[in-house]
């Protein structure tokens, strides 16, 4: 197992350097003068310009500039936002829990509903329910989620008035950020109604973000389940006279979960991309909205290292999923 982890870690390192190379190159491909771009101003005074070139190390050869960049990263220096003058890292840390909260809620929604729908569809193969689930999941897979979000807002928030339109919690409540997770913080605050209000803010964004994972998980669970139910050990379990529920959930689902787990992991990248759209629609103060606003404001240090942080996150999650997958399935662990 340890050598398996070590091998995967070894693959991680070149990927990480590749991503830094990508973000390093991105910022240099912006058309225009680099100093003006980095300072966010036009027509900088020539003396200051030369000074800035010196200070930013822009007059060095490219490889030296890249080494500087890696050196800064190694010291945990991700630069400063041009807009707020705050460090990119601390901005990321304050906003990140909001995205995690949203993504976890979306995964919970997609995972629970997707597993149930997939299992039932597989058990009732060919039934109306099966066709319904497959049809809806195909539609969900093709869904432009930014439009889906607008539709849900229009229906539930504007017409029915059930849920708020945007944000994480009503401005009435003054919640001190302790964990960064609004659901937990609102409970800790002890303010009456705060938790329910936070929950109502969370529901629609979670559904929107969870829609595509839901479709993928339902489809995957169904096909994995169909495969497993055909296996000899399921027939044996049935023949032993075990209850149908035990056969389906203990013998069947447990083995069907392995491919589903992989899909779950692969969805994390998709979730982060979806978060950009979902957070923009619902004004959810997470890293997706932060990134889009920074692009709009030409806040390049934030864009550059925000992208780096998100990429590292995806790499890390994929790594963890790989390890989990190896734990769940010894055949993967021992293959080279």
């Amino acid at each position: 197992m340890l050598s398996f982890i070590a091998r995967r870690l070894g693959l991680l390192i070149p990927t990480f350097f590749g991503v830094t190379l990508l973000t390093f190159a991105l910022i240099r491909m912006i058309p225009g003068d680099p100093v003006e771009v980095m300072m966010g101003e036009r027509r900088v005074d020539p003396v200051m310009h030369a000074e800035a070139m010196e200070r930013l190390g822009l007059n060095k050869p490219l490889y030296a500039q890249y080494l500087d960049y890696i050196g800064q990263l190694a010291q945990g220096d991700l630069g400063q936002s041009l807009r707020t003058r705050e460090s990119v890292w601390s901005e990321f840390l304050t906003l990140f829990p909001a995205t995690v909260e949203l993504a976890l809620a979306a995964l919970l929604f997609a995972g629970s509903l997707g597993l149930i729908a997939g299992v039932v569809a597989a058990l009732k193969r060919g039934s109306l329910f099966d066709h319904g689930v497959m049809g809806i999941s195909l539609a969900g897979y093709s869904m432009p989620i930014f439009w889906w979000g607008l539709l849900l807002i229009m229906f539930f928030s504007v017409w029915l008035g059930w849920t708020p339109v945007s944000g994480r919690i009503d401005l009435l409540y003054d919640i001190q950020p302790v964990t960064g997770f609004m659901l937990i913080d609102s409970l800790l605050s002890g303010e009456e109604g705060a938790f329910v209000d936070a929950l109502r803010h969370l529901i629609l964004p979670a559904i929107v973000l969870g829609t595509i994972p839901l479709a993928v998980i339902a489809r995957m669970t169904r096909s994995a389940m169909l495969e497993v139910l055909r296996e000899d050990y399921v027939r044996t379990a049935r023949a032993k006279g075990l209850s149908p529920a035990r056969v389906v959930f203990v013998h069947g689902l447990r083995n069907a979960l392995i491919p589903v787990l992989t899909v779950f992991g692969l969805q994390v990248g998709a979730l982060l991309a979806g978060a950009v759209l979902t957070e923009t629609i619902f004004s959810w103060p997470g890293i997706g909205k932060w990134l889009i606003e920074s692009i709009g404001a030409r806040d390049y240090p934030v864009v550059q290292n925000g992208i780096l942080l998100i990429a590292c996150l995806v790499i890390l999650v994929n790594f963890v999923v790989d390890i989990l997958y190896g734990l769940a399935n010894p055949r993967i662990r021992h293959q080279r």
């Binding site: 190379l21 195909l138 923009t280 992208i307």
Partner: protein
């Protein structure tokens, strides 16, 4: 007396590949429905200026936010209603089909060709070039596709051409991986060895001998990335990073429709529905193509 045997109809015994393909494809009703919708869409895109009742950017100031014709207050001249500047929605949707199909087609071609080339090289040179190409692709896959597209557009600036470029770059890795995998599967086959022994040159071996046998998964992937290109282009437009207004791109139309969510549901609903139906149609078609061309892939996601 010899019985005259009726000659067997050769065409029935050995149907042409095209006919065989069509029989398998037509078996899938969803795929046929998807294809019909696509035909309609392509027709709209090709003949947009003649089909659309109005110019997509013509503003009828006295008819701002007119509801669709069948509703109270609707006007029969504006079948699907008008938007916040009094522009005819139907005309804009028809012209939007042009843009979406153009983006899809251009980005698929722009990523398919280099993707195939890189994949062939990676497959034929497994020592040095192959692994380095594949590592590069892994790095590109480390970022979710929409985010990478957002990053590219953030640097190059918004617009139609840059949207196409961004989406083409984003879908490159899947073509490279697929081509390489297919090439590696074919390289040890006898016919390849035979061609090698016969003295076929490397380009001939790559393009004439091996490539045609790798096309099935590539065609399926091209269809699927066509639909995700439309979806990503609309998402970029919605974020304000894609095609810029007043161009009638479906995602861009949705971005400006957000402010009228309380008053004019049709401005919000119709462009998104068009996106959903188009993407759904292409995905249905892709499923049918996959089943017809490549039964091995049937259960793959």
């Amino acid at each position: 007396m010899t019985a005259t045997t009726t000659p067997l109809d050769q065409a029935l015994l050995y149907p042409s590949p095209l006919k065989e393909f069509w029989q398998a494809f037509a078996h899938n009703k969803g795929a046929v429905a998807g294809m019909l919708f696509m035909v309609l869409l392509v027709f709209c895109a090709l003949f947009a200026p003649w089909l659309a009742p109005f110019d997509p950017s013509e503003q009828f100031r006295e008819f701002m936010l007119t509801p669709p014709a069948w509703l109270e207050g609707g006007q029969w001249q504006f079948l699907l209603g008008t938007d916040e500047l009094g522009r005819d929605l139907l005309s804009r949707l028809i012209h939007g089909a042009r843009l979406s199909l153009l983006i899809g087609l251009a980005s698929v071609v722009l990523s398919l060709l280099p993707g195939i080339l890189l994949g062939l090289i990676a497959g034929f040179f497994p020592r040095l070039l192959g692994p380095s190409i594949m590592r590069l692709m892994d790095i590109m896959l480390a970022l979710p596709s929409l985010l990478l597209a957002v990053a590219i557009v953030a640097i190059l600036g918004p617009g139609l051409i840059n949207t196409i470029f961004a989406i083409a770059i984003v879908s490159l890795p899947s073509y490279v991986r697929l081509t390489r995998a297919a090439v590696l599967g074919e390289l040890n086959r006898d016919y390849v060895t035979a061609a090698r022994l016969a003295g076929a040159s490397l380009p001939r071996l790559m393009l004439v001998t091996v490539l045609p046998n790798c096309m099935a998964p590539l065609i399926v992937q091209a269809t699927l990335s066509f639909s995700s290109a439309i979806l990503d282009a609309a998402a970029l437009g919605f974020l304000g990073l894609g095609v810029q207004p007043p161009t009638p791109e479906w995602g861009t139309m949705l971005a400006s429709a957000r402010d009228y969510i309380e008053r004019a549901w049709w401005v919000v609903t119709l462009p998104g529905l068009t996106i959903l139906l188009s993407v759904l149609a292409i995905n249905l078609m892709g499923d049918g193509l996959r089943d017809a061309l490549d039964p091995k892939l049937k259960n793959a996601v």
